[in-house]
Chain length 355, copies 2
């Protein structure tokens, strides 16, 4: 099995889909003991948080498969751990949406938007009820992840290792989110090092390092292998995040699916912007950032300036460096041959990525 | 050792204080790797969340002591589990304060208020940064509780039992909080049964049932004992909560320390109010509720009406019923004699309570 992230029909992914569906069905059923409104909250969660590309479960499944040389059906323990990793993503997304005040996700109402639309109240009361629902459902999911890991049919030592990795990933992700909001408010100084660390902490850790570590621990890999894969995952996640930043500014919105120039319109502080800040073009670039009403012509103008000042090239250099660090990390003898091949294939798909 | 909750000098409580202090010191130190702002967040958490009456650790320690007949220093495992229970309380308080928009706790700035005051930003930006900090620190605490339980030096079976009880308590508390906010917004219908269940779920479960179950599980008690204690804890917690409601309306504010009539001023939907709603005095009572500017004369008038309509008597009847149910629960042969005595002593202190 290749670890390429474009195989939605994979039978193992179906197993994870099924496990997550069963989890939400069971939770919605259990919620009935707390009344119709709480049941409705779980029903809305089922409708709004599911979906997505399952990047994280794919990584768990792929690395477990590579390390065990087993391409058959995934053991239920691995399926459930993959489901837990996806649930962790939902927990972060829910609290992220509360913090960012987002009512939409992929163009559709998210949990907060759906609750706000479905209550008879309006205005501030509806929004408060919806935001409260987002905070509380995020708490339920965060707790649910720990419960799923605790209930895995695996030796206590494996569960302990997974739990420790989970706790570290949560701490680091929260630190990254804290820095991200601090940067947007000017409470954290926007130097390049801080921005790069924030980005890796907020997303790469739980999207790459955690799933790779989970897959390896579930395959009973030794600590050196888990460490090497975690390190590789951090570099790879970092490269992916930078590539995302580049695509969202310079890519074809029709292909990557994000709102064209949404990072520019939101005034998001990315590595590209951090580089531009130190150039003579910054004076011309700055007034455009964070303006929701940018016209296509203005977007084109900013993109040209970001190219001219060398910000795009600088970001691509950082991607190359991260990829090189990734290659060094997977060359570690602690990484088994097949895992190296599969991760290498995933990495190779990165540079041609348009979405 | 008696389980009366008025012994702050107890050497076992000092052990818990020490463990919590060490936990926060370690977390603040670890936070430095994520920069000064994240370290500052942990420092503010240390300054603002600690304190309080340690009701929950007291219950863990007391029941463990009663079941093991050991009155000496508590084993470190029991101390750390007690610290985890207190940390869970902090997690709930943090998210509760975010949801309620509270910037104060016991008259002093809470974490949100402190962050808002200490940032150079002002207005909405300061408040958003502060609220974000509250959400994220709550997440860190919730995850921290699970980590503390996972790291206990106890058999895997004990850790599993504790983890399961923890998950159930979190689910139930969140459901109670959801209903509480729903009641205040009119999204949940305010019938007496719903209000009583909300109150028990939101507070009694994690304040009484969870600590009693933890103490018993740590003493390796059998499931029947844990079940009986959990049941007893629910009735007792329920009685305490109702007593709180009665005190906050009819008690002497100088003694119970709460803002006089704060429940009336906030328009809080308690069992007292739910009863009053069904009486002919409701027409006269309703206009006073939820008015921040109630004069002492108006407060006295509402209290007189709540007495006259039988709401106070109804609440006190409910307390008596809960206490009777509690006595039946601890009479269960699965509850060892000494635990029965200690819990009985705690319960006896309830009716004379003025604070």
């Amino acid at each position: 099995m290749s670890i390429a992230v474009e195989r939605p029909t994979d039978v193992r992914l179906d197993q994870v889909h099924h496990a997550i569906g069963a989890y939400f069905a069971e939770r919605t059923h259990s919620a009935t003991r707390y009344g119709p409104e709480f049941t409705e909250l779980w029903r809305i969660a089922t409708d709004t948080v599911l979906g997505g590309k399952f990047v994280r479960p794919r990584l768990v499944l792929a690395i477990h498969s590579a390390l065990t040389e087993d391409d058959g059906l995934a053991p239920q323990t691995v399926v459930n751990a993959s489901a837990a990793v996806e649930l962790l993503h939902y927990a972060f997304v829910l609290h992220d949406d509360v913090i960012d005040g987002d009512l939409l996700r992929r163009g559709r109402p998210n949990l907060i938007g759906t609750v706000a639309n479905s209550t008879p109240a309006s205005g501030d009361v509806a929004l408060h009820w919806a935001t409260t629902s987002g905070i509380l459902m995020g708490d339920l999911m965060l707790s649910g992840v720990y419960q799923l890991i605790a209930e895995l049919d695996a030796p206590a030592a494996v569960r302990s290792r997974l739990t420790r990795v989970l706790g570290e990933a949560i701490d680091e992700t929260v630190a990254g989110e804290h820095a991200d909001v601090g940067l947007s408010h000017g409470a954290v100084a926007p130097d390049l090092g801080t921005i790069l660390a924030m980005s890796a902490n907020k997303t790469a850790t739980y999207t790459f390092c955690l799933p790779l570590a989970f897959g390896a621990i579930l395959a009973d890999a030794d600590p050196a292998t888990v460490r090497a894969l975690t390190k590789a995952g951090r570099h790879l996640g970092f490269a992916f995040q930078l590539q995302d930043d580049v695509l969202s500014v310079f890519g074809d919105p029709a292909r990557h699916g994000k709102d064209a120039a949404s990072d520019l319109r939101e005034g998001k502080v990315t590595a590209i912007i951090a580089h531009a800040r130190g150039t003579r073009q910054w004076r011309q670039i700055e007034p455009f950032l964070g303006r929701r009403d940018l016209t296509p012509a203005e977007v084109a103008r900013v993109c040209a300036l970001l190219e001219a000042c060398g910000a795009r090239a600088a970001a691509e250099r950082l991607i190359d460096e991260a990829m090189e660090a990734f290659r060094v990390a997977i060359a570690d003898p602690a990484v088994p041959e097949r895992a190296r091949e599969d991760l290498g294939a995933l990495a190779a798909s990165l540079r041609g990525r348009t979405a």
